[in-house]
Symmetry: C2
Amino acid sequence: MTDINSLLDSAPSPASAAVEDAAAAVPLVDFIELLFFAYRDFVGDPDQILAPIGFGRAHHRVVHFVNRHPGMRVTDLLDILRITKQSLGRVLRELVDEGFVESRAGSSDRRQRLLFPTAKGEALARQFVGLQSRRMATALEASGPDGREAVQRFLLAMIDPEDRAAVERLIERADRAARARPA
Amino acid sequence: MTDINSLLDSAPSPASAAVEDAAAAVPLVDFIELLFFAYRDFVGDPDQILAPIGFGRAHHRVVHFVNRHPGMRVTDLLDILRITKQSLGRVLRELVDEGFVESRAGSSDRRQRLLFPTAKGEALARQFVGLQSRRMATALEASGPDGREAVQRFLLAMIDPEDRAAVERLIERADRAARARPA
DNA sequence: ACGAAAAAGTCAACATGACTGACATAAATT
DNA sequence: AATTTATGTCAGTCATGTTGACTTTTTCGT
């Protein structure tokens, strides 16, 4: 699978003070680059699905979060995606026009437009999650026995401290709602 | 109001979502979203540095990889970034014009333009790596005792299998060259 | 009841970073 | 000598983001 070994074949031993620890820790910059490449392939998954239907990654994000939080407000979506409403507006209009997302006025507050996935939207979201889950499941297995927990702590700690709690709440709420909603 | 009873039975959905592990405490979709939020903040770091000097994220990527692989060819950079030469061309020209990157003709093959960071470019790259390393170091600590190894295996396994070896080679080569090149 | 504020939508202009296609030049390879 | 490779460039387009200004509808506070 990996072939660091073949690299060492042609590797002249680091000459001078190739210094201190030959069993050196993996430099942080390696992790930076691994994350770069990992994320590139991770977000590349949905492209295969998106291209044929003329959508882009912005559509993916919207469909995903609307599906995860049925009935969410436009403002909530803006907070999650951190884009302007003008940017969101375009993408959302296309998704509504093509029948992937539905927007209904809120019952308690009628200024609100609550966003719901249609059956078509749900199916699309399932495709996205299916693809990315496959990759994620494989990678978590590869991470080792306690890898799941370690990776979870890692990812959470990569998030800005001031946003961490909000993200945890968001995810927890979506999971709880999904469990309460029979498939 | 919440239905506590349904909390434990995570009903395995129909055959399509077979990827999900019903016994897992944390659904895979949670990891998908954690990675989304983690990466968003991770790439947000360089923005603070980039905005004042009128550069974007494309400049960040180019400066980073040219700094990591001094003397790399334009083609190598295109392979890493997976963009077209027209896209790269604009960004590279700006970086050369403003003195962050230097391009010299190859000595053995004079068609090649080998890319080197200038002192200015090195300094900028160090800023990027510094910021992102800080976040990464904190997150790796938070991942636990054996977290580093687990995260490394995880990130590598997230990369498309057919690219994994190439990425490992790339990173290993950069590290080796850096060790042989004392600051 | 009235005015401020909030939620959403829209128009217009613009920036960034990607893309395709066509073409040019120099140098290496066959 | 012909072809291929490495690079660069012109021209046009697309996707996705941005600011700023303004409107409509509805709720909320005084």
